[in-house]
Amino acid sequence: MIADLYLSGIVVWLAGAVASLALWRQPAAARRVACGAALAGSLLDLAGSAASIFSGGPTAIGLPFGNPVFVWAVRLDPLSAYFNVTLAVLAAAVSLYSFGYLREMEGRRNLGAFGFFFNLLLLSLALVFTASNAFFFLVAWEVMALSSFILISFEHEKEKTRKAGMLFLIMSHAGTGLLLIAFLVLASAGGSLDFSSFHLLASRMAPLAQGTVFLLFLFGFGVKTGLVPLHIWLPEAHPVAPSNVSALMSGIVIKTGIYGMARVFFDFYGAPPIWMGTVVLGLGVASALLGVLYALMEHDLKRLLAWHSIENIGIILMGFGAALMFRSLGQPNLAALALIAGLYHTFNHAMFKGLLFLGAGSVVQATHTRNMEKMGGLIRRMPMTALCFLVGAVAISGLPPLNGFVSEWLTYQALLAGFGTTQSLTRLMFPIAGSLLALTAALAAACFVKAFAIPFLALPRGAEAAEAREASLPMRAGMAVLAVGCVALGLGATWFVRVFDPITQQALGVRPSSALVMARGWALLPGTAHGGTISTAGIALLFLFAGAAFALPLAMRWRRRSVTGPSWDCGLPGLTADNEYTATAFSKPLRMIFSALYRPRREIQAEYEVSPHYPSAIRFENEIEPAFEKHLYGPLWERIMAAANRMKGIQAGSINLYLTYIFITLILLLLFGVRG
């Protein structure tokens, strides 16, 4: 049953891909087929993987026929099923949204090709999450990388898009290279490429090999997740893609790295040495903080959201890092709590970041710009989009009672409990990570005040924003699905934590959910000795009750006494859009406070005609220094180019020389073979 549902989802995606490619001459049909197949496939995949979670055990999914072309090794265990559910819910909403979003591209772009790669991406994602063989995993991984590359570069006539796509491709392959080495080392130790033979294998290797493999996996998967300092492609590539693709990229494609880490850290490794957890926790904190700090400086709406993906990956990895540390310290229950926090945040981030990117897509389609400074007042023109975006903004800021709050609360509880688990100085890491998480969350709230208020509130700052039209019905429906998801995952937290039981059972051998829920499913508690409790459903109910009983009747009464007038604005008449606070101005205090990081550069040029007191034009430029590009990747790039220049000599273009090379290689291989 589970296998049938899963396989039919795969087949529907495959059929959708082929059919939409075949229909490329009829854009409207291609769009309907592509989105319809993507939606149907997602729903089938959702049904299959949800059933698999509740059935508990792993399901091996075989094909009824053999084939000589590729290895087929697919297994749906609880961890795979969890990521598949995340994928399926997000993909269903995005497909629904795409029905409307792609309509504008009809006739201008090849929607057949788009539909092909869109369905292929979903298919490869599902396979990445379920592959149970290193070779098959890497094949699916590459198909995913290539189809994302093509979808990112879809608007390829822009120079910037092509460059971002290339950067993505190069970094992605560097990461795949690291993964390949790591898998080969594991395979040579275990004698098989099958994941089941890797189980706890890494912990049986020599400490040096163990550590090397760990770092290879961490950085190999880290490239895909956008872990600092491997993140530089992410804020370039995610914004240039069409917005429905951006939602998938930020929502689920970067989570393949998280999945990989979860698989390696909690399946291939037993209790790891403590430094591994410390490294992951440290990198998580750095990613979270730097991600949000750079996000604050953006006024490109989609780039801002892309930087927030780096922040949220950091928060997820804080949970994972703490879980690894607890495992080393022999605390399986705490490790389960921290792992749940990370995995919960993974799902949450897929929901709210997908929602925010879809909202940004509607806004960009309506205003034809990604620059927030040219938007404004959209809440009146696009009320539904605004409401959905607001839900996403509250959720990502970690405010109660929505889902971001629940997973951040779990992370805090895990970090707090960590302090008592050891006597060494390592324990100081937990509260410091906790306080930096607090800083991150508060900065994220500041950033989303900006990201919601500047585009949606006050007066329109540009002609296109003033003329904007609400998104079409399928687009609104897609956003609404994810907004409901954010609310449901927040209010239904005590119900949702049960989903993690099979995962923690498999990874850590504990089932903590009954210890996490109390008061008849009303309150969540961390399951530590005397943890605090939280009840998002209760908070929401009280808000609803107070709103219905007091706010509505009183607001009705007061409305009779209220008049609408111009903004007071300290008595200055004639408020125009030029007077409004801008996104740049909003983040100015933080730019000054963190100037050591940003190194802002400002240039003001005024042109005069008669006297310097009456400038005829003023040009203002303001930018911050991209620290990683300048200090890390710049020198690296120069080294690579210099090395390549030096190696030019051996590539002279003469065929005789190349034949010699081949001959020498052959001899060496023969010698190697004889000796081995």
Partner: protein, 317 residues
Amino acid sequence: MTERIMTGLIENAAQLFLLLALAPLVTGVIRTLKARLQTRRGPGIIQPYRDLRKLFRKGMVIPETASWIFAATPWVVFFSTLLAGLMIPMVAAEAPLGLFGGVLAVIYLLGLGRFFLALSGLDSGSSFGGLGSSREMTISALAEPAMMLAIFTVAIGAGSTGLTEIAGAAIGQNWRFLAPAQMFAFAALALVLIAETGRIPVDNPDTHLELTMIHEAMILEYSGPYLALIEWAASIKQLVLMTLLINCFWPIGLQPTWFGCGALQGIGWLLAKLLLLSCAIVLLETVNAKMRLFRVPELLAVAFTLGSLALVSTFLF
């Protein structure tokens, strides 16, 4: 079961009443004390009640550029502050709504109110509103790590982020606040309290001097009942943070339950401790001048350092 629900309801109602009634009084006392210390007569301690009554009777002017966010904000701010207030122990050690959230929920509920307040500051399109929102979000973000470190210290001592447990662990140890970790954490939280409630030297609650205001700039476009709700919520927030500070560190006089004549005694202790803290705040406000905005991060860095010291002291001493 029904009996537990009934007692819970009574406790909640009592604390709700106390929050609503006491908050303007605390503001009035602080203002009067401050005036006396500056050899002014001051408007009297019940002036905030009169202000609220007046504002609730007035009409409102809604800016024509504003959206529904502007109308929803006062309610969100008011209800989230009250909800946070029900999660802290005031008279009895057991917080009436402790099941719904501990100290993290209190902080994040206050954060929810601030989020909407900052949105409404930008909603009217006035640049003063934007200025206030930007500064408020900046300062609160910088205050957050210090606050979290101090709270971690307290929570580590009690083994919980539940405020009932935190206050419960402190009960019976009336002089525990003299421990170095507690002193550092107290100092850190006190600095955060000043920043969060918008008091001198971070912000001046009495000013409408356009370029120096923070909180007042955000709510510049509000009038009538909505302004009353926001002002009321601001004084409740101040009361909540003050109570949190004194009851976490100095739980003397906290009663085991809300019932019996102990409750009156508990209220008496609460009032006395609030008065003492108000005096300290008044003294601090009178002898200090408001800081430049870009000096505030330094103050909050001091708070963060104090928080770190508190944490280190938990296992040094």
